[in-house]
């Protein structure tokens, strides 16, 4: 009998045993995909195809097809790049940081969240490549390969290059972490496979894993090390992305608040995307007893907390701009709220600061349609935050004679939409071929049959 007055709520509802967990999680992989999956997949694949053809056409005709004009020389591409990288951060936070804090509830969502990270980073990675206009040269321009042209080297002192290393490292380590966690579950799928080809493919992917106790020991330590590495990595990646702006001299960009502000914003937008995906996935795949209302409630609390941090950052920027007395800095913040881009600024504030406030009320935190709508608002708001940062500061910087109004071109919209199509296509494929919940980890936090033995 527990002496603690509050009964600990079960992490997995429904008094399941281990075999039930395996059956329920593996069911979407083993049955032919439903009509719903096909509709969703064909829709997102079409959008992805449309986006890619837009990219192809833009590369053929020239990057001027996008709305980028002087003085706004960075447009949709960098906005969407930062947006997708930010979304990826929630996945690593859930897998790595919550693991280090021993938050057992992460086990139901960490596999999907890490998958989301990898797909988000893949979507983000397209933009630096295509924004060069000649992506086939991107490798030569971005990576320090040995050459005889001097030898010519990339500029290691530039945040644009720190980005290259940071995003590549982030993608690689996230993929390695994800795959390492997948191996035992792939072995489970292998052992359940009836068809010889399925058994062979999952067999190769699971490396012949047998669940050996000695193996688990080394495996767990490796998992701890990867989690411990991923934690500073996720903080550093978005910090480095924020340096793209912070090391410049543009008013509204050159502030030291950017690293923590961007990281908090990334976690904020990432969790909103996780909520969006989990609300859909638990419904479609019947995983409500694993991804429970408690899980969603905790995620909404995190959304509220990080949303407040982002709101605080907005207020701090504004205050420091006034306090500094620098006329350009003061001007840019007033211009953001009341100038030609005021519409985007107030969308941003409404979506990021106001909409999460609903989550103070427990009833709203546990209301599925409301949290789904609010998570979409937060995603929209966070895209607009990057829009506001990039576009307003460039459009109205030091010399009024250089000012101009920037509009996204139809090709910008097409490519932006295409990136969402790619993200959802990849996620739907993941749901079809891989177990969306980490079975081994969920089983390890479920109570054992005869109660907990030390």
């Amino acid at each position: 009998m527990s002496a603690h007055p509050k009964l600990e709520e079960p992490l997995v509802e429904g008094h399941k045993d281990y075999a039930t967990v395996t059956n329920e999680v593996c069911k979407p992989l083993e049955s032919f995909p439903t009509k719903l999956w096909w509709y969703a997949f064909l829709t997102s694949a079409t959008i992805m195809g449309f986006g890619f053809s837009m990219i192809g056409y833009m590369l053929y005709k020239g990057v001027g097809m996008s709305g980028i004009r002087s003085p706004v020389n960075w447009g949709m591409m960098i906005i969407t790049f930062v947006f997708w990288i930010g979304i990826g951060h929630a996945g690593t936070l859930i897998s790595a940081i919550l693991f280090l804090f021993r938050q057992k509830w992460r086990t139901a969502i960490n596999r999907s969240a890490e998958a989301m990270t990898i797909f988000a980073v893949m979507c983000a990675g397209i933009f630096p490549l295509i924004h060069t206009g000649r992506p086939w040269y991107s490798f030569y321009w971005l990576f320090p390969y040995p050459n005889t042209m001097g030898p010519l080297w990339v500029n290691f002192r530039s945040p644009l290059l720190w980005d290259v290393f940071a995003v590549s490292t982030y993608f690689t380590i996230s993929a390695v972490f994800w795959y390492t966690g997948l191996v035992p579950d792939l072995a489970t799928v292998r052992d359940r496979s009836k068809h010889w080809l399925r058994k062979k493919i999952y067999g190769i992917l699971s490396l012949g894993w047998r669940g050996s106790g000695r193996g688990w020991h080394h495996y767990e330590i490796a998992y701890w090390i990867l989690a411990g590495l991923s934690t500073p990595l996720v903080l550093s990646v978005h910090t480095i992305v924020s340096f793209d702006f912070a090391v410049s001299i543009i008013p509204g960009w050159h502030t030291t608040i950017f690293p923590p502000y961007f990281v908090a914003g990334a976690i904020f937008s990432g969790f909103a995307m996780v909520v969006t995906l989990m609300v859909i996935a638990r419904e479609v795949f019947g995983l409500k007893e694993y991804i429970t209302l408690n899980h969603l409630e905790v995620m909404n609390k995190i959304i509220l907390a990080t949303g407040m941090m982002v709101g605080l950052a907005y207020a701090t920027e504004f205050f420091i701009a006034w306090y500094s007395g620098v006329p350009y800095e003061r001007f840019i913040f007033i211009q953001r709220a009341m100038g030609p881009y005021a519409w985007s600024y107030w969308i941003m504030v409404g979506c990021n600061v106001l909409s999460p406030q609903f989550f103070w009320v427990k009833k709203f935190r546990r209301n599925i349609p409301l949290m789904f709508v609010l998570s979409l608002f937060v995603n929209v708001g966070m895209w607009f935050e990057r829009f506001v940062i990039v576009v307003t500061s460039l459009a109205n910087d030091y010399l009024p004679s250089s000012w101009n109004y920037f509009r996204l071109s139809p090709w910008d919209y097409g490519v932006l939409l295409g990136s969402f199509g790619m993200f959802f296509t990849l996620f739907l494929l993941f749901c079809r071929f891989l177990p969306t919940i980490s079975m081994a980890e969920v089983k390890s936090v479920m109570p054992s049959k005869e109660g907990h033995h030390g």
Binding site: W153, S168, D191, H218, I225, A440, S444
Partner: protein, 175 residues
């Protein structure tokens, strides 16, 4: 003459039971034994008498190599190979080099840890070792003891019956 390898396997259905069985097997001084579980069981390292893994030292060494590689790359390219004055910044701009120092350290450490863990410590990929029961990755816990000859099978099976294993059988192949 090739050394014979035979695994004698018994099954359990809860974490408490497999921990107890592992303890008893260790007490009986069987050296070549292992447990097979669908998830890592808390307390198994003590029960089996496992020594702590040396993987963290490998990770640390890999991290140092990553840092060394990053320092070498940035310092050599910018201070020796083709020094250039970029925006008045010093040739050895250490604060500017730090982000890439960090990233390459993490990259080499992480990738090496995962690769070495699977290949050297777990011996994977390996598709030739026997899978004792398909439910080991589902809800069954197994204890396997390796013996070197047919004569040793029966005494080990007797021991497994003593420690209440179910579905005891033996199979050719190593642990």
């Amino acid at each position: 003459m090739a050394k014979k390898q035979i695994c004698v396997v018994g099954y359990y259905f809860s974490t408490g039971a497999i921990l107890e069985a592992a303890r008893k097997t260790k007490q009986r001084a069987f050296e070549k034994f292992d447990t097979f579980t669908p998830f890592p069981v808390h307390g198994m390292e003590e029960a089996m008498g496992m020594k702590r893994t040396t993987l963290p030292y490998v990770s640390f060494a890999a991290g140092c190599m990553g840092l060394g590689a990053a320092i070498g790359l940035e310092v050599w390219t910018h201070a020796f190979s083709w020094p250039m004055n970029i925006g008045g910044k010093p040739l050895l701009a250490i604060p500017a080099y730090v982000p890439i120092f960090f990233e390459l350290t993490v990259l080499l450490c992480g990738v090496t840890t995962a690769v070495v863990m699977f290949t050297k410590y777990l011996g994977l990929p390996c598709h030739s070792k026997p899978i004792f029961h398909p439910d080991i990755t589902n809800d069954r816990f197994a204890l396997a003891i390796e013996v070197g000859s047919d004569e040793e099978i029966e005494p080990v099976k007797k021991f497994l019956r003593e420690i209440q294993a179910s579905d005891i059988h033996h199979v050719e192949g190593g642990l």
